[in-house]
């Protein structure tokens, strides 16, 4: 994979701007599904404005970790902190309103809705109209509609898909679907974005485009957590890398450090 040199330079400079203020802290998190231990005492923390890349082979527990952070799975052991909030016992929609959202590995666009409506659903937290004012079409509900339509459209043009606004998502390419999913996630206005394998299935130029977009979001102050197994793309973009293997964190460091790490080379990069 050819790495865009501009992308690399951006990443290097942004490393310096990343403040030390912690946004997310994962403490000794373990998870089992029945007898299967999927995560074993994983700890790490993410300063605000960082891009953290988590790599690991299939079944390493990457998606499970993201779902624990977004609250879709409930925590069995350990703690997760986000902006002074302890996330255990908080339901997922409340976690989202605190400022965490997730792009799923399989995107999960709403297929009964057009692209723009998908993104409008992402604006949910910005709406106040309930059943009564929506049913009666009160001014508040109409104002909500206009505001979120505008907002959704701007998120869609951010990912370059405003031309597809009224299409059905099923008619889009896989890469475009991922971008719609990203626009929908961005519409929430979250501070922390969890991306589960955003690069998988993308073409080379789509990967470059996504990289640019992610770096742009970082410059705007977002903190981003990316899960992948495509290592070479990510070495350019992350300023912090964690390697998971069979549910264990086997390494953490800068992309350079990870590429030189003996254990990582043996366990993953070497065999990959």
């Amino acid at each position: 994979m050819k790495t865009d040199s501009a992308v690399v330079k951006d990443a290097v400079t942004s490393k310096k701007v990343a403040s030390d203020k912690l946004l997310l802290k994962v403490e000794d998190v373990s998870m089992r599904f029945g007898v299967l231990a999927v995560l074993k005492g994983v700890s790490f923390s993410v300063p605000k404005g960082n891009i953290l890349v988590i790599i690991g082979p299939n079944g390493a527990g990457k998606s499970t970790l993201l779902k624990l952070i977004s609250g879709l799975l409930s925590l069995q052991e350990g703690e997760i902190w986000f902006k002074q909030h302890r996330l255990s016992k908080i339901p997922p929609h409340r976690i989202s309103s605190l400022g965490i959202t997730q792009l799923f590995q399989d995107v999960q666009l709403f297929s009964s809705m057009s692209v723009i409506e998908n993104v409008m659903v992402g604006c949910h937290l910005r709406t106040r109209a309930g059943f009564l004012s929506a049913g009666l079409k009160l001014p508040q509900a109409q104002a909500d509609e206009q505001r979120i339509l505008k907002r959704a459209m701007s998120k869609l043009s951010l990912v370059g898909l405003e031309q597809k606004a009224w299409d059905n998502p099923a008619g889009l390419s896989w890469g475009q679907q991922k971008l719609v999913g990203l626009a929908r996630a961005l519409a929430t206005g979250s501070d922390l974005l969890l991306l589960d394998e955003p690069y998988s299935g993308l073409l080379a130029d789509e990967i470059d485009k996504l990289n640019q977009l992610i770096l742009q979001l970082q410059r705007q102050g977002m903190t981003i957590l990316i899960v992948e197994h495509l290592t070479d793309v990510l070495m350019g973009i992350g300023n912090q890398v964690i390697v998971l293997d069979y549910g264990e964190k086997i390494a953490e460091g800068t992309p350079d450090e990870i590429q030189r790490n003996k254990r990582v080379i043996d366990a993953y990069l070497g065999s990959g």
């Binding site: 609250g71 997922p92 989202s96 999960q108 009964s112 809705m113 929506a134 606004a165 996630a185």
Partner: protein, 338 residues
């Protein structure tokens, strides 16, 4: 720009829909002038079933939750009205309101308890509710009259009009039905409608995706169940004053199944479907009971259930999106309204 052209075409779709509602209202308001008392009373039934079915469409078609117990909410409305107006001389309108509040409250309690659990839970619980309701109505004889039911329910009276004449009942039922249609269409086209569809796992939704976007899935499920229960209850109250008698058999599982069939038949994607589903089913019922016997001997009404079954199967095979799919975009097109 393409997007703006699209937006303006959405606006015209909204206007088109408003015109279609106005036209529909006009047609429904003129019908009684041309027909006799008997078809009018069948049309009152269509209106009442439509009100319940609109709620089922929002619950099933939008939120993806299945109920096979809405006869209980219809019955709670009917019995609250019947009991309060016969035993306690309440105003019928107050009784209607209290029945709706009671139905909504029971729906909220059930919803809160059940939606934490997943899957077909609601179908099972609403079915159980229907059984319990039926049993209670049959056994609390002092209050409900038991299997004999309650008689001499007063008619609804509004501004000097006595709604005991089906002509006037017709107008009241259809005005309420059209108001509920308008409310439901607004809801369907709003962020609330999108939110409900986003969590409908039977129609391209995902609860996980909805939740990470900040949607309180359980709360929306409870609210839509409450709304559908209130619709059913209002229809039940009007029914009680229209029929002037209530007896338990009306509010049992067959009614619950009937409104689900009407929703499936009409189409789950739009509240409009309710009128098509209810119209067709009541039409078939009347045809078998009232029209056929004129031409053939024997009780053709006995074939009612078979006819419903056959119609449902044919609809599911050939019109899986319901009768509504035969109509244009004014009815089924989903829009981001502006």
């Amino acid at each position: 720009m393409n997007a703006f052209r699209e937006i303006s075409s959405k606006i015209s779709a909204v206007k088109l829909q408003n015109r279609v509602i106005a036209l529909f209202a006009l047609v429904m308001m003129t019908i009684p002038l041309g027909i006799g008392p008997y078809p009018i009373s069948a049309m009152v039934d269509v209106g009442l079933y439509s009100i319940v079915t609109i709620g089922i469409i929002l619950l099933m078609g939008f939120a993806g939750q299945i109920s096979i117990g809405h006869a209980a909410f219809f019955g709670i409305g009917a019995y609250t009205s019947a009991i309060l107006t016969t035993h306690y001389q309440f105003s019928p309108w107050l009784a209607l309101f209290l029945g709706a509040a009671l139905s909504g409250g029971i729906a909220a309690a059930i919803g809160r308890a059940m939606f934490r659990l997943h899957g077909l839970m609601l179908a099972g619980i609403t079915l159980a509710l229907n059984l319990v309701f039926y049993h209670l109505v049959c056994s609390m004889i002092g209050l409900t009259g038991g299997a004999m039911g309650l008689i001499n329910i007063p008619p609804l009276i509004l501004g000097g009009f006595n709604f005991s004449r089906s002509f006037l009942t017709y107008y009241m039922v259809w005005i309420i039905a059209i108001v509920i249609l308008g409310f439901s269409l607004n809801l369907a086209d709003s962020q609330v409608g999108r939110t409900l569809r986003s969590m409908n796992t039977h129609a391209g939704g995902s609860e996980n995706a909805a939740q990470v976007l900040g949607i309180n899935v359980n709360s929306y499920k409870v609210q839509i169940l409450v709304l559908s229960a209130v619709y059913a209850s209002i229809a039940g109250s009007i029914y009680a004053h229209h029929a002037r008698v209530v007896e338990p058999g009306t509010f049992f599982i067959p009614f619950s199944v009937m409104v689900v069939i009407m929703a499936l038949l009409g189409g789950l994607r739009s509240p409009w479907g309710a009128f098509l589903g209810a119209g067709l089913m009541i039409g078939v019922r009347e045809f078998l009971w009232e029209v056929m016997p004129v031409f053939v001997t024997g009780v053709t009404g006995a074939y009612e259930l078979i006819a419903y079954g056959v119609i449902l199967i044919l609809a599911l095979l050939f019109l899986p999106r319901g009768l509504i799919s035969l109509f244009g975009r004014a009815f089924t097109k989903r829009r981001a309204t502006v």
